[in-house]
Symmetry: C2
Subunit: 466 residues, 2 copies
């Protein structure tokens, strides 16, 4: 784990901070330590967050540029921050660094003619969806936190979600970006055009770069027509392996719009919480939705049902009713609240090729036993992206240490299965030390080459950069 | 237009070439000038192709590495080449440079369990589609040249096609890449996993980089289940503007799988060739397909029909019959053959936001008049991506000059409408001089920074790099 121990802001003078206020604006600079506290951590509460020298809350790109220039001249680290809902410590403050919170830049403009949204980074994902809906349009990417996470953060992590098994992830919807570079220059990439291959794919390079290459100040998003209503199926299986086999078979024939998995431990934790009659003996549970238009969605759900039965499902329930479907999806969504009160939570995010899901889930169970840590698993199974959730007693240092060892071993397991240490949450601080194990030395060097070229001082989100 | 006048290969000795043969393999090195002729040009016949010092036709990544190392040690430019079907001079040889043709590396392996294809760059797009089909799977990207273009070239240009209005472009299907870097190192990016946000989006950076950052030697492609059959509609409109308005309205409500446009001049050239009874008086013609499953496709086509009628269509014909639909699509596909014999052809590839299509088409007609050049327009209208085709008498230097001026002015027009100089063909040699007009100085500098970081000697496809 990375710990930023140097304190680059320590040498700052009163005059430096006065210059920040002067150059950015008094109303946009937070210097009071108690007020800054709210900007130090993301949801992971990953340790190592420092106390910033200041937090800037710009209202426009010009103020972002001014803040970056102020920091660049002094070699001060910069941490861009969206809604702070990250799960990898990616927006945790750096000791003595400048945190730039984009929460006040939250404008949304929908252009129905080009089917685009021009959005500021602080706009919440749910607000973009809502604004699009008013025009009969849809912004698909739907991280589970969509009601409270920001588009800027979604872009920083290339966020996924539940519907991306059919509709793709954030990068698939970004047509344009305004980015403030490490030297304070503002560039505009792309625009309201759907296809554009002029020059390098720079937009795609910034998406998923977790604030280490630049700070996004405006986004042009592609919208699509609202999807038809979905039919929903819930199936329980004797083993996680049987459920995963059903997922593989579905993907070969159908394009479901949602394929969620819960392992036995996740089912039991949810049932403890909801008491809705979930089968506690099930080795795996799937919630599947299909949203093809018209009668086709019923045919698709019937095909999903046949696949589940032939994979050995012990119980299958399908419905074309929206509210009934949402209730079952609610069981999956209730898992995280159900974990509350059980201890501290480390949310993992490993992914594997889909056929390796059973081996991953079995391997996680073995790691849980060996390290005596409770690790229920939920997964965006259609993408092979799992969230093992390490629950431990935060007041017990030995338990914490066991959980952290398990956390590392789960990443090693995923890499060994041809997978990734992060499918959608990002590397952040939590996994920067594990990145080399996945990427290898040459790709790490290439990454460093690009980082150095774009940010020679290394001031942009340094705790998340290799 | 770029003309490479220096001759970096001129200082090469017999010993240098003997070393190439020795290091790569005698069977893989072509030194005979008449044999090399076939590797000098792409389909654009864009002027400026040089005579390479040698052509290498490697059989594996190791031989690509050996060839790159040989060239890197000597500072010799390298031009990677796929099937040579490019339309922007992107694989035209550099005088005295080393052309690396990937045509012998054409392996295809389908893995139905992970729904992926592992493909060598020389494999043809159509061969990948066929191999996937044998497993009930589909590789969607479909450039018009899909029967003869290679996956490596598709990746170099981030190729689009007809179905990308619904199914996306090449970059959306690339899960993994093996790339030989400018110093000969071979890196592996991504793999058989659908979601992966560990590290920078390097795969996406290489896709669309036109051989200026590295040479792809292996690709992992995402496959999807075969789509249902499509219903087809053909509609004629009094004006191009009316047709474009129908396209805008469709996009707001529906997700057609194909939306192709032909202007009046393109309709007439095609009708001259086919004599199938197309309406010569039509200002614009649309061919639309919908491929939602089951009865929904008929409902969608009916909705398309209603939109066309309400946009002022003079004639609309819809069919659910596959062969009949293919016949109408055939009219669109017959346009390029219909141009043959009419003169030399410069194929443009400009794109605009969809509502700007009518202004683009009107503007192109005005440019055609002013420069006395025949410029029929076809378009992937659902994406706002047009192909104005400049037909001129190659034996008349004045006609050629007028066509080239028109070519430049069409790019300026597209940029002025918020568009791009290339939607899917790439920059190549043909447009490298026009790139700055679209991207502006800061983005050009950022592009150069990345190029310099990855290829400090500037040896990778230098005529296509800024």
């Amino acid at each position: 784990m990375t710990d930023v121990t140097d304190k680059p802001g320590a040498g700052l003078t009163e005059a430096d901070l006065a210059a920040l206020v002067d150059e950015v604006g008094a109303a946009e600079v937070v210097l009071d330590p108690s007020a800054m506290e709210a900007y130090r951590w993301d949801w992971s509460r990953f340790p190592g967050a420092g106390m910033p020298c200041a937090v800037v809350r710009p209202r426009d790109a010009g103020q972002v540029q001014a803040a970056v220039r102020w920091a660049a001249r002094r070699g001060i680290p910069i941490v861009p921050r969206g809604a702070g809902t990250g799960l990898a410590g990616g927006s945790n403050a750096v000791e003595g660094g400048l945190t730039i919170s984009l929460d006040r830049m939250a404008g949304i403009e929908i252009d129905p003619a080009t089917r685009t949204a021009v959005v500021e980074p602080g706009a919440l994902n749910a607000a973009v969806k809502q604004a699009a809906r008013e025009h009969g349009l849809w912004y698909p990417p739907d991280p589970s936190s969509y009601e409270i996470c920001s588009i800027g953060g979604n872009i920083a992590t290339n966020a996924g979600g539940l519907c991306c098994v059919k509709y793709g992830v954030t990068t698939d919807y970004v047509l344009g970006l305004d980015v403030v570079l490490a030297d304070g220059r503002l560039i505009t990439l792309g625009g309201r055009r759907i296809k554009d291959v002029a020059g390098l794919s720079l937009i795609k390079l910034f998406v998923g770069s977790e604030g280490t290459l630049g700070i996004v100040t405006k986004v042009t998003l592609r919208l699509v027509p609202s999807p038809p209503p979905a039919a929903t199926l819930v199936a329980t299986f004797p083993t996680a392996r049987a459920a995963a086999e059903a997922v593989v078979a579905m993907g070969r024939q159908l394009r479901p719009s949602l394929v969620e998995f819960m392992d036995q431990r996740a089912v039991n934790i949810t049932e403890d919480h909801l008491r809705m009659g979930l089968d506690r003996s099930a080795g795996g549970l799937l919630v599947v939705q299909c949203d093809s238009p018209g009668a086709a969605r019923t045919e698709e759900i019937e095909a999903v049902e046949a696949i589940c039965v032939s994979a050995g499902a012990t119980e299958v329930f399908a419905t074309d009713d929206h509210d009934e479907g949402e209730a079952f999806l609610g069981a999956r969504r209730a898992f995280f609240p159900a974990c509350e009160g059980r201890g501290a939570l480390l949310v993992e995010d490993v992914g594997v090729p889909i056929p390796a899901l059973p081996d991953l889930i079995d391997g996680i169970a073995e790691i849980a036993r060996r390290h005596d840590t409770d690790i229920p698993v939920v997964a965006h199974a259609g993408d092979g992206n799992t969230h093992p959730n390490l629950i431990y007693d935060a007041t017990d240092p030995a338990a914490r240490e066991r959980a952290e060892r398990a956390f590392s071993e789960i990443m090693e397991l995923a890499i060994g299965l041809g997978g990734t240490i992060t499918g959608e949450h990002g590397v952040g601080r939590a996994k920067v030390g594990s990145l080399a194990a996945q990427l290898g030395p040459d790709v790490m060097e290439l990454t460093r080459t690009i980082k150095d070229a774009l940010d020679p001082q290394g001031i942009l989100n340094p705790s998340c950069a290799i």
